[in-house]
Amino acid sequence: MKRVQAVIIGGGSAGLSAAVTLKKNGITDILVIEKDEEPGGILEQCIHNGFGLQTFKEQLSGPAYAERFLRMAEEQNVKILLNTMVTKLTADRIVEYVNAEEGTVQVQADAVILAVGCYERPRGAINITGTRPAGIYTAGQAQRYLNIDGYLVGKRVFILGSGDIGLIMARRMTLEGAKVVGVAEIMPYSNGLPRNMKQCLEDFNIPLYLSHTVTQVYGKDRLEKIEVVEVDENKNPIPGSEQYFEVDTLLLSCGLIPENHLAEEAGIRLDPATKGPVVDDRYMTSAEGIFACGNGLHVHDLVDFVSIQAAKAAEGAVDYLKNGKPAGVPLRITNGNQVSYCVPSQFYPAAPAEKLTVYFRVRTPMDSGTLVVRSGDRVIRSLKKRKLVPSVMEEALLLRKDMEGLTEDITIEIVEEK
């Protein structure tokens, strides 16, 4: 079996960033495996701009952002296998892939970086009842039809879910001449970035129905009509609140789920909150030498953070390839009040990283609150925060001195204003 230093599964924003970082750190024998015809991942269909503000200090389109990383990868001589699907991953880092040129191949990797991305929650997972006509798409699917293939999926559109892809598609389809009659969000607040609420809905007078959901679809061949209801605080439909919209298209923007099938198959521990692998401060999963990053680790709102975290995961892999597993036993970074998840969620107090940024999301919107980082009763950090919303990822910075020698788990919490 062929042996390689590192295999990166996925050639999207996370995989490319990880590849460039590995190369820059002297790991030369690497293989990036990409299932699609082109590298770049989902960025290739995100032709709107707003990418790269953190990384490049300018507004780029998705393909342009990907292009920057592709150029860096080219400069570093990164080898990308295209049209290649990873079919198996084992905990001892045997990677099996298949493509048209080589057939099925197994390689033994010293380190693996999972940069596999995520998928959109489909209709069946949302349980919208009714018939099964054509005309119901996930938002990203409709985006691909429009921006890659060049086809508009419908004329009268309703969007369920105020996730960013749905909001972007509301604008994009309007510009293409479709009528977007509304967006329903089951929560009492939007799930998209504030800038997308403004630029994609408000600027086009597209109504947003908060605390509403789609309960029923009608139509035999093609979608004809949908039923929209208001929901109470427990997300149960309020009787009598039914409204009907005659539409030929329903887009679902109801959340993204990390593609965790390979990780699960390799026996890697998953975090039920993120649905991606549990990782430590080096972004290593529960399987030694297997790292995770990008939307396959947890779903990001900005690609810049995908690139940054993927570079961190690559640095973790470099450290592992040079020094092996960190010494000692890891402690956990746990979710305190109002925190729905933390990534990474483990660290090594005997050998902490120089600096560790913990990414987290809050459960519900708050005008302000205090971010408190504790280890047991000891407060490590306390910081006032304003405008906390679930759709925007938050950060908590930990320094080596904060973590070194700790004996109790770290908890991240928001102390709410009374």
């Binding site: 079919t87 998928y119 099964r132 999926v153 479709a178 099938h261």
Partner: protein, 475 residues
């Protein structure tokens, strides 16, 4: 002039056409939908019931036992999946245990093998069985199949042997002439000596074109959840004890590819085409599955669907020549266990035909079909040899089910091949997985367009009017 026209390409019509294709006969199958197996055959529990359930003396009992006995060999001959998983009939308490005895008595009389387990013995093998379950009757030869795969395979083999299949050909009218029947459809006028009514939920309409039926269609809807392959809460099919009013109850079924079905409910319908799921129906399924099982992860649902059973006011199957309409044969009221019974239903129809029709074997008939390539079933060496020869088998299109472009092309290019996105899903399974086609559907639209020589704008999801794309973009 056809010898026989079969109305309906569900499992009954397809199985019959396959069995008839060994004879020197001119047979046509008229299907009102855009593919084979679109009605009850598409949406059911996918179980080959072994035959303990129908009451003594019924046609159902006879044909179920005889049909189920043939299934494994038929699936082997036609290269269809057939997986023996076993069926647990789970009784909760003394009263239900009494009912198990009735089933056990029927099984003894019909030579159906079983084991009787205590609740604890059953739970040792099936840990998610409810604590309330006190006794289990295990019909361990019960199998699961892909019902539409069998129907498609039958049709494919039949068409190879000369049967004509007409899709989008609903019967508009049937007239009885002196020496034949004349059937009007949008696809033309068909003259035939014999007619077989295998029209499922629409059988009464067809029957009434020739004679007034003394039964009525009472279609019943059944709704199901489909769980992700990664969540496999059960290994056997789990039934509650059946009742006359509620039928077989809410079951859990491990499907051939590892998904789990939970359902169905049973609601009478006014509209035989109303196959939408309902809030109430799915709630009934959720509530009632807990009678026999615990820890069922309904939050891992990737899809829900509803099927319509072609029930009638007659509690038994009706497989007979219609009184006053010689050579017009009904195969109606084929509700559960219609799938399991279909080989024996076909045999019964053939024996009715044989009374007045000369059946001569066709020496050239090939009762199999070319084996579909299933990469998942091949060794790495076999796979590599195939990919070296046909590189399309190395290009994976559906990431969830790992289906290659080669498998998709094959199912389009076969006899009675796929012409729709759903047709490909039925034959090669892309889109059956957890993303439900989110990633692969756009690719499949392009493959179909290229293969059929049409614009992607004309590619349909299922029916002729179910277009996926509206227009080319402007910008």
């Amino acid at each position: 002039m056809y010898d026989i026209v079969i109305i309906g390409a569900g499992i009954t019509g397809s199985m019959l056409s396959w069995k008839l294709s060994r004879y020197q006969l001119k047979v046509a199958v008229l299907e009102k939908e855009n593919d084979i197996a679109e009605g009850a055959t598409m949406a059911n529990s996918a179980v080959v019931h072994v035959g303990y359930d129908p009451e003594d003396g019924t046609l159902k009992a006879e044909l179920n036992v005889k049909g189920a006995q043939q299934y494994e060999a038929i699936c082997k001959q036609l290269h269809c999946t057939y997986k023996t998983v076993g069926a647990y009939i789970a009784a909760c308490g003394a009263e239900e245990e009494q009912q198990l005895l009735v089933l056990k008595g029927r099984a003894d009389a019909r030579d159906i093998p079983y084991r009787l387990l205590t609740g604890d013995e059953a739970r040792a093998e099936e840990p998610n069985l409810s604590e309330n379950v006190t006794q289990v009757l295990d019909f361990y030869t019960t199998a699961v199949i892909y019902p539409w795969e069998v129907a498609i395979a039958c049709m494919e083999s039949a068409c190879q042997n000369g049967t004509d299949l007409f899709l989008n050909a609903p019967c508009l009218n049937i007239n009885k002439h002196e020496d034949c029947y004349v059937i009007e459809t949008p696809k033309g006028i068909f003259r035939t000596k014999y007619v077989v009514n295998a029209a499922g939920v629409h059988a009464e309409e067809i029957h009434n074109m020739i004679a007034k039926a003394d039964w009525h269609a009472t279609p019943r809807k059944g709704e199901y959840y489909v769980l992700d392959q990664d969540a496999q809460p059960i290994r056997h099919i789990i039934f509650p004890v059946p009742s006359r009013e509620k039928g077989k109850g809410v079951l859990a079924i491990p499907t051939v590819y590892g998904n789990t079905l939970i359902g169905p409910n049973s609601d009478f319908l006014d509209d035989p085409d109303d196959n939408g799921t309902t809030v109430e129906g799915l709630a009934y399924v959720r509530t009632n599955i807990s009678k026999t099982l615990k820890n069922i992860p309904l939050n891992r649902s990737i899809r829900t669907f509803a099927g319509i059973r072609p029930t009638t006011t007659c509690p038994d199957f009706i497989v007979e020549e219609v009184a006053g309409a010689p050579h017009f044969i009904d195969a109606v009221s084929i509700e559960s266990p219609g799938l399991a019974s279909s080989p024996a239903i076909a045999d019964r129809i053939i024996s009715i035909l044989a009374e007045s029709l000369q059946l001569t074997e066709n020496p050239d008939a090939d009762m199999s079909r070319r084996k579909p390539v299933v990469l998942a079933d091949m060794t790495p060496e076999e796979r590599n040899a195939l990919i070296a020869k046909e590189p399309a088998y190395g290009k994976i299109i559906c990431r969830c089910e790992q289906i290659s472009e080669g498998e998709i092309l094959d199912c389009i290019r076969r006899p009675c091949g796929a012409k729709t996105v759903k047709g490909i899903k039925k034959r090669a399974r892309p889109g059956m997985g957890r993303c439900q086609g989110g990633f692969c559907e756009p690719k499949i639209v392009h493959i179909l367009a290229a293969e059929l020589g049409i614009s992607p704008l004309d590619v349909v999801y299922d029916s002729e009017k179910s277009n996926i794309l509206e227009s080319e973009n402007r910008l």
